[in-house]
Symmetry: C2
Subunit: 365 residues, 2 copies
Amino acid sequence: MRDNGRSGVQPTIAHVAHAAGVSRATAARVLGGYGYTGAETRQRVLDAAKRLAYQPNLLARSMATGRSGMIGVVVADIENLYFARAIRAITDTASANGFGVVLTTTDEDIKLERDAVRVLLANRVDGLIVSPTSSIEVDHLIGARDIGCPIVLLDRRVPVLNADTYAIDNFRAAHQAVATLIKQEHRRIALVSNAPSHGEKQYLISSVRERIDGYRAALHDAGIRIVPNLIILGGWDTENLARQLRKLCQSANRPTAFLATDSSVALVLLKVLREVDLSIPDQVSLICFDDADWTAAVTPPLTVVSQPIRELATAATEDLIARLQDEAKGPAEETLLQATLINRGSVSNAPAKSPIERQSQKVRG
Amino acid sequence: MRDNGRSGVQPTIAHVAHAAGVSRATAARVLGGYGYTGAETRQRVLDAAKRLAYQPNLLARSMATGRSGMIGVVVADIENLYFARAIRAITDTASANGFGVVLTTTDEDIKLERDAVRVLLANRVDGLIVSPTSSIEVDHLIGARDIGCPIVLLDRRVPVLNADTYAIDNFRAAHQAVATLIKQEHRRIALVSNAPSHGEKQYLISSVRERIDGYRAALHDAGIRIVPNLIILGGWDTENLARQLRKLCQSANRPTAFLATDSSVALVLLKVLREVDLSIPDQVSLICFDDADWTAAVTPPLTVVSQPIRELATAATEDLIARLQDEAKGPAEETLLQATLINRGSVSNAPAKSPIERQSQKVRG
DNA sequence: TGGATTTGTGAGAGCGTTATCACATGAGAG
DNA sequence: CTCTCATGTGATAACGCTCTCACAAATCCA
């Protein structure tokens, strides 16, 4: 039993009890707020506790109660706006309810996700809020659920897990965005994402998959042919995504409009567009997911699909905490909030002529 | 002792020991990796552990060892780019070293900071990484240190605490940025920050204070008079900051250049500049702290003071972990890395004529 | 062959709580 | 005047680990 130098300084219930001249049990009762205690004794204990600056050891309490008061959060990347906002809402909600948050990051790597869940479980978090990288490889989540650790899913679904899920209606949001573009006469609309393209469709992150589905449906509804080349899945390497976009933008029949599945993708696209000297919204229109604060500050300000991230994350956390506190656990529910399209300045009518014609015109002029 | 429904499912060392037909002590030794164990026994225990999917209860381990393997992180706001990057680096470094991270957020509120530290200590984190809101009200930090909880400071200093500190050389960075503007003939240079203006100078966040000092020094070195009105401290309310900036930009002798102390301030400034129809870099120049990814994507791309956030946070975490592991604790050290000015497109020569003249000229034209 | 030494194992005491149980006291009821 | 019963309080067993000790068996050296 090594001495960490702390135990000698941190008073325990025993110290308080001694100082107050009562038994440990009694001190524990008043400090823990349970069981009978005489008014006068209680005051003596309270005084002693204050005098010694007693702080209960939550680890010990967790040991004894079997609940740690900690919520584990597993997300891909905290630098991503979506998750940053979500984590903020989660920590706020958690601490308002007396819970702490243990944060882990997976980088969309299923192996790291497994590790993260294992570590969190080993630390006996009471519950988990997860944005799973995969909707297929979820054995670790099922394992967690099976040992009685409640899980709430954020942003992404895992049907087989049967857990409460909080996300937006991605299909509808993408559909609406694309429909907006179509209404402005756009016919060649590209969808750009940083999800990895390798593997089967089912291995895509569910939110991206649903956005793609919404994109396709909107095109289909308008009788526009779906061109596979216009769906860009750049993977997690920004440079790779930029390369693909550059190529697309320089091709003869480049798209007249883009739908970016998140703001970091939009950023890459913006850089490429400047590189190839295409201006928004005159030459290309753009809508992106997530109302990042910079989207309103750039010129032109970007039209975005705003997700109610804070609401989602807050609701998810409250849900988890409710499940932690009530033993009455209803069946798993899926909460799908609606995203809202914020019209700013990055969408305009499609250029009257096709890009090819425009370009040759330019050369002639 | 309530049953949380988990203990029945989670196997303990006792279960493994029983399954392997050895004593708890022996199982604990092989599972804990300490003391002697026979090769054959070890294997039996390992097999049993695997079969039962044994996962050590880290809470219990923490109780016994007095170390939790958790690092507490206290920052103002995770949505702030600086802290998002820092937290990312901290979690990465921590988990690479077998540590977990408990995250708390203070919103620059000293009261919340006190609470956060208290909760973290109650949870017996092994050490603390803090970006303190105040360099004056630090009794809670001193208290933490005094009970033997190592603290490492990030971004901000607290001289009296005598703790290892990781930050950039804010004075020099600001000095250099302002000098750059001066070299381009700018004379009316504003400093814009979102730090609260009320109270004494010493109550400012140390990094902001040092940037202001650097700003003043640069002006002074160039023989330029310091105009108090050009130092804008907007507080945490974005709208308030915008209001002040609007007023400043519309005043007769508005500044020709701005130094923003972080990227979120720059964002507000950008919006205001668009509102009042002032273009960068023709009419005003701009340098901001922090190389946020959007700064390179806007038009024109922004010239920024790039802080080596990741390096700072990684070093801070490694330092803390080293102090946690080595008992040999040297004296507190301050590590000041250098920021680098990244020249992009938001700085140009000051308009040849004063804003007033330009404006009247415009009217005449 | 006997004592010392190595090698491996088991017993058991913490760690700081929670929570149950038994017990002491005094008051009120029969 | 005993018998309950409410009211406090103290002992004490968990919780699941770590880690010191004691001790048995096997090995070594003289």
